[in-house]
């Protein structure tokens, strides 16, 4: 089936099988490999992207469902090679180690801060509860989001 989507401002058109997951469309067909796969049950959130303004796990959506949509992924956060405030904060607070969960984590944090520019610690933790990190214990991720919100 034909899928047309605008990802990070760029229009893409591809013919895909209906069974293809959005994450595989992004990674394999569009070569946007920043979003990752960390589980096969929709728990880990490494594949989180924003579709038409809504944060979703792209492993629980078919690519054909994204036809006509506008998608934001981690690759779209920095502008002209300059890290945005959230990315910078993740780095300065050592909120990432292996960096595998980071793209999904950044998208969840992005969605959270759009909706709630000054979240409490509990709200931050709820905002990233669907993103598993196995390296950091979340301590510095929470700090980084807090700092980026200030």
């Amino acid at each position: 089936m034909d899928v047309v989507a605008t990802v990070n401002g760029e229009r893409y058109e591809r013919d895909v099988e209906p069974r293809k997951l959005l994450i595989h469309f992004l990674r394999d067909d569009l070569d946007l490999t920043g979003s990752h796969v960390g589980c096969d049950t929709g728990n880990c959130g490494a594949c989180s992207v924003i579709v038409d303004g809504v944060l979703v796990k792209s492993c629980m959506m078919l690519a054909v469902q994204a036809d006509g949509s506008t998608i934001e992924t981690v690759e779209g956060l920095a502008q002209d090679g300059e890290l945005n405030g959230l990315q910078q904060s993740f780095s300065s607070h050592h909120a990432l180690q292996c960096g595998y969960c980071t793209p999904g984590m950044l998208m969840s944090a992005t969605a959270l801060l759009r909706q709630n520019p000054h979240p409490s610690e509990e709200e931050i933790r709820k905002g990233i509860q669907g993103n598993i990190c196995r390296c950091t214990g979340y301590v510095n991720i929470v700090e980084a989001i807090k700092a980026a919100a200030e």
Binding site: C44, H94, G99, Y100, R134
Partner: protein, 826 residues
């Protein structure tokens, strides 16, 4: 020199580009971050090759069965399928992987695919390659395997009986067994005022489950007979030692490449079977093949941490609370194949008496195979299980004798003035101040007012418990310990490599032998090199990842066993020192002075006392590499130096099983406060502190990050993470839905503190670290026990993982575990 630091609320950050002398010890921005926060890291699954095929493994639905036939014909008929591989082919094309054990374990035949039998659910039976990932799985469903199911054995103790035997060639489920007897345990027993006996303790199966699963992209070059493996093996040097002989080729026919790896925690050390299958497929089909493991595969059939049962624990104690040692019978369950095992049968001996001055230890250790997933050296490998035993011993003894858990620890800890301290089995604890670290941890949780908090919790209907976990993170292995298992093994010592060069335009390029998975090697390397060469970390280009073609690795290269700060940075320091010497030599020749007259500072080689006479790095690089006419003929420099760091080790005394097995001993002291809801067994960790002493810290923020992460993994393992099987050997927790790892809401706020006891044995005074998080398991178990009962009554926390239902069962039936413990007082 010992210094206490309690972490400030905000991490100390140096702005990018800022320069100041002495980068070691500072929190410079991580070099790795810029690409990773933009999704520009390169993980193996991000790579593509023209016409590559996707691999899908056909996996066993049985825990134990004979393979009567495998028919791939229907799969091959499917349009888009490139080819298949079966166990029969593997048995012809390869030799079994090398086994580390003596018989019976030595006789086990382990291949890339199951040959003749399957031995655990998920055991790969065949592989299919197809044009798309989905198609490969479709085809795998068409492979017809006829199985004859066999009885299963899932319990380590039952496996000992050999009624069901996994490996017919071995003839027994026992992989390895041996006894260790240090000091004089019988005399200690005779000398004791109290003898505490614990019938059974059990360390549950879990895994740190790196978020990126395993996988590789393999290309075969027909012209040279060489494979390139773009994968996430975290110890490729050792991987090659397994794979090359099995594939009947030389080591150099296997090129391992990785850039970014999404966590390893030891679970990516034993990928040689799957990688070998991919090598065979790439050669057979003459096309690049790519294998991505999915989460369910990782949980069911890649690796778990070692499961261990401790039986008949006997602890002689003096009236004043001094413990004289212990004896135990340990049964370690390594699952269906030993692979990296039986090394776990000796690794624990690095920390034989834990943090304690115990001089009499007797251990009867046996490792067995069961019809469960194989194990791998999961973070804290083998020491975690053993230290959980020592900590459980301390708290159970304290509980039974009415001793204070803090006092009894301090009484039995190795004392600060006793370092370097030689353990009964010849290990040398390099430095530390255990009692002080414990005080810092207790301060952080407000231990002085704990009884007040207990009353407050009781007023809210909750049971409060406080617990301590003290552990050692032994780093930098002496591989000679393998000879204690198998004297025939030709492994001892350790090594790591770094290459530092000054390139033609003055660029400093560093190549490591390690295989980082998030530990910040590029960053800490740049700190060390910058300090030695007198420039900034920004000017140091550390190549990302690992590539065998860089020729910057040695036999034990890899990222494992808490050793980068010692071996990795030891190699970096050695290479940078040599390069600095060569740069001074070159500058001296240019200025017509001696190298002693030259200093490296501000990214220049300049004459001491005359900073005007200076050569920028670019000039040095250009002169040697491109403009070298007229240089002295006898000047033997390359500005491209490779250094192998080799820690000072002796071979152990095999007769006495005695010797120094690791170079450094970072120490961890965790304190935990839990509140238990007595009605449901549900509990929360309401306060938590982790104090780490890893000697001089190169990058405190990275150290703290390791402490956070290791602690989170331990808290997961203590509360919910457990690999549970049903009676037929099906894993009941094969995904993140049923295997609950900590989410952001689950994690308590972590307080951290530091003590820095410089290691006298290492190039930078640092100790390796990162694996000490096991303290969290001990602390939670102790806190639960404290919450659930008082002296001589209440349940005994006898398992390492205590989900709510176990806590409720302990509350309901305290006698069930209480009877595991007895006290004989004289």
């Amino acid at each position: 020199m010992t210094e206490t630091t309690v972490t400030p609320e905000r991490p100390l950050v140096v702005e990018e580009g800022e320069t100041r002398p002495g980068f070691i010890g500072q929190n410079i921005p991580r070099k790795e971050d810029k690409r990773l926060v933009q999704g520009e890291g390169v993980f193996f699954d991000d790579m593509k090759r023209h016409e590559m095929g996707f691999v899908h493994f056909v996996r066993s639905p049985y825990a134990h069965a004979r393979i009567k036939s495998v028919d791939v014909s229907k799969a091959l008929e499917l349009d888009g399928v490139y080819g298949t591989l079966t166990g029969d082919e593997v048995a012809i094309l390869t030799d079994p992987f090398f086994e580390l054990s003596t018989p019976p374990g030595a006789n086990i035949k382990d291949y890339a695919l199951a040959v003749g039998k399957v031995r655990h659910v998920g055991d790969p039976v065949a592989a299919v390659v197809a044009r798309t990932r989905e198609l490969a799985r479709d085809a795998a469903e068409l492979v017809e395997v006829d199985y004859e199911p066999l009885p299963v054995v899932l319990d380590g103790e039952q496996a000992l009986a050999d009624e069901v035997v996994l490996h017919d060639d071995a003839g027994s489920n026992t992989v390895w067994s041996g006894t260790f007897d240090w000091g004089d345990f019988d005399a200690a027993l005779a000398d004791a005022d109290h003898v505490i006996r614990i019938e059974r303790l059990h360390f549950d199966r879990f895994s740190s489950t790196p978020l990126e699963c395993a996988g590789c992209l393999v290309e075969f070059n027909r012209g040279t007979g060489q494979w390139t493996i773009y994968g996430n093996h975290q110890m490729p040097g050792v991987g090659a030692i397994w794979m090359a002989p099995a594939l009947r080729v030389g080591l150099d026919k296997l090129r391992f490449v990785s850039q970014d790896i999404g966590g390893g925690f030891g679970n990516k050390i034993t990928l040689h079977p799957q990688f070998t299958a991919c090598c065979l497929l790439a050669r057979k089909l003459n096309r690049p093949v790519q294998w991505t493991e999915w989460r369910t595969d990782q949980h069911t059939a890649n690796t778990h941490g070692n499961e261990r049962t401790f039986l008949d624990i006997t602890v002689p104690v003096k009236a004043d609370g001094t413990m004289l040692g212990f004896s135990v019978r340990a049964i370690d369950d390594c699952g269906a194949f030993p692979r990296y095992e039986p090394l776990g049968c000796i690794i624990w001996a690095q920390v034989t008496p834990g943090c304690y001055r115990w001089r009499n230890v007797r251990v009867d250790f046996t490792q067995v195979c069961t019809n469960k997933s194989p194990v791998a050296p999961n973070r804290g490998y083998s020491r975690m299980q053993h230290l959980w035993l020592t900590e459980r011993i301390v708290d159970i003894v304290a509980g039974e004798l009415g001793l204070d858990p803090v006092d009894v620890r301090k009484k039995n800890y190795v004392k600060q003035e006793e370092f370097p301290y030689t353990t009964p089995n010849g290990c040398v604890y390099d430095s530390g101040d255990y009692a002080r670290c414990l005080d810092v941890a207790l301060d952080l949780i407000g231990y002085d007012s704990i009884e007040e908090k207990r009353r407050d919790a009781e007023s809210r209907g909750k049971l409060l418990g406080v617990g301590i976990g003290s552990t050692l993170d032994s780093g930098t292995n002496n591989f000679g310990q393998s000879m204690l298992l198998n004297p025939e093994l030709q492994f001892s010592g350790n090594n790591e490599v770094a290459t530092v060069k000054l390139d033609i335009f003055g660029e400093v390029v560093v190549t490591l032998g390690t295989v980082p998975q998030g530990q910040g090697h590029e960053t800490t390397t740049s700190q060390v090199v910058a300090d030695i060469l007198g420039c900034t970390p920004d000017e140091i280009n550390v190549r990302a990842g690992h590539d065998s073609y860089w020729n910057s690795h040695a036999g034990f290269s890899g990222t494992y066993a808490s050793q980068f700060a010692v071996t990795g940075l030891g190699a970096v320091k050695g290479a940078a020192d040599k390069l600095a010497g060569e740069m001074k030599q070159l500058a001296a020749a240019v200025f017509g002075v001696t190298p002693d007259d030259i200093e490296l500072a501000e990214s220049q080689a300049r004459m001491k006392g005359n900073p005007e006479a200076a050569l920028p790095f670019m000039a040095l690089g250009a002169i040697l590499n491109a403009n070298n006419a007229g240089l002295p003929e006898d000047m033997d420099i390359s500005l491209n130096v490779r250094h192998v760091y080799r820690p000072p080790f002796e071979k152990p005394d095999l007769e006495r099983k005695y010797g120094n097995l690791t170079l450094t001993y970072a120490s961890q002291f965790h304190a935990c406060v839990v509140e238990v809801d007595p009605e449901t067994g549900v509990y929360d960790i309401v306060d938590y502190a982790a104090v780490d002493d890893c000697g001089d810290r190169i990058h405190p923020q990275i150290v703290e990050g390791q402490v956070h992460g290791a602690t989170a993994q331990a808290l997961g393992a203590a509360t919910h993470e457990i690999f549970t099987y049903d009676e037929e050997g099906n894993l009941l927790t094969p995904n993140f839905y049923d295997y609950h790892v900590p989410h952001a809401l689950d994690m308590p706020p972590l307080k951290t503190g530091y003590v820095e006891s410089t290691s006298p044995f290492t190039p930078l005074g640092a100790k390796g670290m990162g694996e000490g998080g096991g303290a969290g398991i001990h602390a939670v178990c102790a806190a639960l026990q404290n919450a659930l009962g008082r002296r001589g009554e209440g349940p005994i926390v006898w398992r390492s993982c205590n989900p709510y239902h176990r806590v409720w069962e302990m509350l309901e039936q305290p006698e069930a575990s209480r009877r595991l413990v007895s006290v004989e007082s004289r």
